[in-house]
């Protein structure tokens, strides 16, 4: 489980790894808020996420909604694995950053 936020010139880079669930939700929220506050495009590397539960999903979803409202780009540089996307779809959760 790792959540790392790096600032590049044009974007905030958020790298997520491992299990993203309620045990790291507070940390994820803080990282997303920080990224939003930077006012730059948000890029998320999520290729190494092994599990994504509702607590993490709703944070990412809310972040995406707010980024869109403030005209910030919200995109995945590494998409969630097909397995996780499949599970999200089974649960009726719409894909994140669908337009990317």
């Amino acid at each position: 489980m790792e959540i790392a936020l790096n600032q590049a010139n044009d974007a905030s880079l958020l790298r997520l790894e491992g299990v993203m669930d309620i045990s790291v939700a507070a940390e994820l929220k803080a990282a997303l808020l920080e990224a939003m506050a930077a006012g730059k495009a948000i890029r998320i590397a999520a290729g190494a996420v092994t599990e994504l539960d509702v607590s993490a999903y709703q944070l990412l979803w809310a972040a995406e909604r707010e980024a869109k409202r403030s005209g910030l780009q919200f995109a995945f540089t590494g998409r969630l694995s097909a397995e996780i996307e499949g599970l999200l779809a089974n649960e009726g959760l719409e894909p994140l950053a669908a337009g990317q």
């Binding site: 309620i22 045990s23 599990e51 944070l59």
Partner: protein
């Protein structure tokens, strides 16, 4: 943060354990009932659903081993449900043995619980797999995300259901994952889920541990509403859940795919279930109808109410001294409220005895098999409610009584046949209210107790004198003597006493009494009379000299005066004429060796006891009192005539008398020509001294 989550997860595990224990008990009853009635589809369905829930929820709450172990059992019962496997004694016995192991896995780590035995588990699984022709799978339930299974519950026609599921705010905090529930629903059939996120607040306002997502789902399944609700069984108290047949029920999903052969078979075999669609929401009274509260919290609550009752008594007394209508009004109001609070708090602790009774079906089943006897257990009055503390302590004595009945009461089949009895023997467990007591009856239609043999044995053991004349009841009472229980297999009654002194001790500690009735060749009935509650009673406060006593109001029938003239008329005999009826009385002053001068007019409290009506003579009757009973502590536990002590409003200690015991002791003292000597008085005084010393401190220390 993580620690908090872990703590909550533990709390949720605890709740799961409690639910699972109930499910295991239900499973056991269902299995034993199935033993009698092999074809009962409803029972098979219940067993399957129970196992399914244990498996599914077990893996959700971290009991992976338990879930994995239950997997094949569930499959076996699925086969039974679908008519692919016939239910037989072997599968039932294996399942019962498996339940023991599941229970051990559930309680793992708890003190005094033997861990599940891997070898036994493996043996059970091998047996089940062989019976049900299941091939060993590779740890199916140990994956963190359960792999989708074929529709597990295909027992009825495929129906469409609309399910709305809104997790409660704390669901995730408790360690439950809503997505797992959605996935589990998917295993019941074709699921179309839609997550609704309109309640998700702006990022900054999100509580990361709260679930804001809710779901609307359509499910096409043959499983029925009950199976759907079972998926949510552990979270339904904390979520909004609506399960209803899809309106206009055009079976859209069913048409889109051909029914599989298994489903067709399943439908053909399907039981006609009348499952009514479930609807659970926060605002329905149904949802709020029960609440799980740890027993310790309840005990604390009752203790506090007890303290309040004591303080209220003091307030009433102070108010009586001050002639102030305002204080009097407040005091009366407090008294009324306290009384109502007391009754309510006692009521909260009342539980039906059903679970305790049902538990013995298994004991009877196993013992009958081991002893090669044919015995059925019948239960009556299982809804009778009594105090949880009493129920908790009833298990052991009942077990000993049933064991004794099975072992020594019920005759071997040949003897039953010779006596012209039904080949199947009966053990009957019954509970009913009787005044402020509950009667628990264990009876059997066995050979009865040989009173003469018991008497001889008692003489042999030196428990009674050789020439003593004993009534039948007195002889049977000997069975409960500690000396009797050590009997080895010597006579046909030996062993009858095994564990019986345990019964006696436990019933004594509950302030109950035991009565045994038995007829040779017809059977034995043991009746336990137990108080409804242990903590607070209504009593009559009386005084003798400067000593105070409380007699439980439930026993007291009336109070009459005893004058010097009455005593003279009776020629010194301890009998009173109450409206033409002769009532023997016991002078408590003499009984307890209280040496203060006797008043001219005394009071007789007439009380009903098992031995008949007795009068208890005291100096003064002071009035009603609500009494919080405090235990005497282990030093005075042997003082049987006193069942506890209480603190009066002014801090004085009063001893709570057990009229049954006092009468019993007094009659014995007269029969044996001894007077209740100063030793009783000394003990009573010591009890009082002990309590006084402690009551100087704040009241709750007593």
């Amino acid at each position: 943060m993580k620690e908090a989550v872990a703590g909550n997860a533990e709390q949720f595990k605890h709740a799961f354990r409690e639910e699972a224990r109930e499910i295991l008990t239900e499973l056991e009853s269902a299995l034993l009932a199935l033993h009698e009635n092999r074809g009962d589809k409803e029972l098979i369905g219940r067993i399957f659903r129970g196992l399914h829930t244990i498996k599914g929820s077990g893996s959700m709450f971290g009991f992976e081993r338990m879930a994995a172990f239950t997997h094949d059992l569930e499959t076996a019962y699925d086969h039974v449900r679908n008519g692919r496997l016939e239910i037989g004694s072997e599968l039932i016995d294996l399942t019962l043995a498996a339940l023991d192991q599941i229970s051990a896995m559930l309680e793992e780590g708890a003190e005094g619980v033997a861990p599940a035995d891997p070898a036994v588990c493996a043996g059970i699984l091998a047996g089940v797999r062989k019976l049900a022709s299941i091939e060993e799978e590779t740890k199916p339930a140990e994956k963190s995300q359960p792999a989708p299974e074929p529709p597990a519950a295909a027992a009825g026609p495929i129906e469409n259901w609309r399910i709305r599921f809104a997790p409660g705010p704390d669901l995730m905090r408790f360690g439950a994952k809503p997505s797992l529930l959605v996935n589990e629903l998917g295993q019941l059939g074709e699921l179309a889920a839609r997550a609704i996120l309109d309640a998700v607040p702006p990022l900054g306002e999100i509580d990361p541990e709260r679930c804001y997502v809710r779901w609307e789902m359509e499910l096409a399944t043959a499983a029925g509403a009950e199976a759907i609700r079972d998926v949510f069984i552990f979270v339904e108290d904390t979520c909004e859940l609506t399960i209803e047949p899809a309106a206009g029920a055009a079976p859209v999903l069913e048409e889109t795919r051909p029914a599989s052969e298994a489903e067709i078979t399943a439908r053909a075999l399907a039981e006609k279930r009348n499952a009514t669609p479930g609807r659970r929401t926060y605002d329905t009274p149904d949802n709020a109808s029960s609440l799980r509260v740890p027993a310790a919290k309840l005990d604390l609550f009752v203790n506090l109410v007890g303290e309040l009752v004591t303080v209220q008594a003091r307030l009433s007394e102070i108010a009586a001294k001050h002639d102030d209508p305002e204080i009097a009004a407040v005091s009366e109001e407090v008294e009324r409220l306290t009384s109502s609070l007391r009754d309510n708090s006692m009521n909260i602790r009342m539980m039906p005895i059903r679970a305790t009774f049902e538990k013995f079906r298994r004991l009877v089943h196993d013992l009958a098999r081991d002893l090669g006897k044919n015995v059925e257990l019948t239960i009556e009055g299982a809804d009778t409610e009594l105090d949880k503390t009493v129920i908790d302590q009833l298990s052991d004595p009942l077990m000993h009584l049933i064991r004794n009945s099975m072992d020594h009461g019920i005759e071997p089949a040949a003897l039953r046949a010779a006596r012209g009895k039904r080949p199947t023997a009966t053990i009957h467990l019954a509970a009913k209210h009787s005044g402020a007591s509950v009667l628990i009856v264990v009876s059997d239609d066995g050979g009865g107790i040989n009173a003469e043999a018991v008497r001889n044995r008692a003489i042999e053991r030196g428990l009674v004198a050789a020439g003593a004349e004993l009534t039948e009841a007195e002889i049977f009472a000997l069975l409960f003597q500690p000396g009797f229980s050590t009997a080895k297999q010597i006579t046909d009654v030996s062993g009858r006493g095994v564990g019986m002194d345990v019964v006696r001790q436990r019933v004594d500690s509950l302030r109950g009494s035991i009565n045994v009735a038995s007829k040779a060749a017809e059977g034995t009935t043991v009746t336990l009379r137990l108080p409804l509650t242990l903590a607070i009673i209504d009593g009559l406060l009386v005084s003798i000299g400067d000593a105070f006593f409380v007699l439980p109001l439930a026993n007291v029938l009336e109070c009459v005066e005893l004058t010097g003239a009455d005593v003279e008329r009776a020629n010194g005999k301890h009998i009173a004429d109450v409206r033409g009826e002769i009532v023997p009385y016991i002078r408590l002053r003499e009984h307890f060796g209280i040496r203060t001068p006797r008043p001219e007019i005394e009071q007789i409290m007439i009380a009903s006891t098992e031995g008949g009506r007795y009068g208890f003579v005291v100096d003064k009757v002071l009035g009603n009192c609500q009494t919080v009973i405090k235990n005497l502590g282990r030093f005075y536990r042997h003082v049987k005539v006193v069942s506890g002590a209480t603190i009066l409003g002014d801090g004085t200690v009063a001893l709570v008398l057990d009229p049954e015991r006092v009468a019993h002791d007094a009659v014995r003292a007269i029969a044996h020509g001894v007077r209740a000597g100063p030793s009783v008085a000394a003990i009573a005084a010591a009890v009082k001294r002990g309590l006084r010393g402690r009551s100087a401190a704040p009241q709750r220390t007593v």
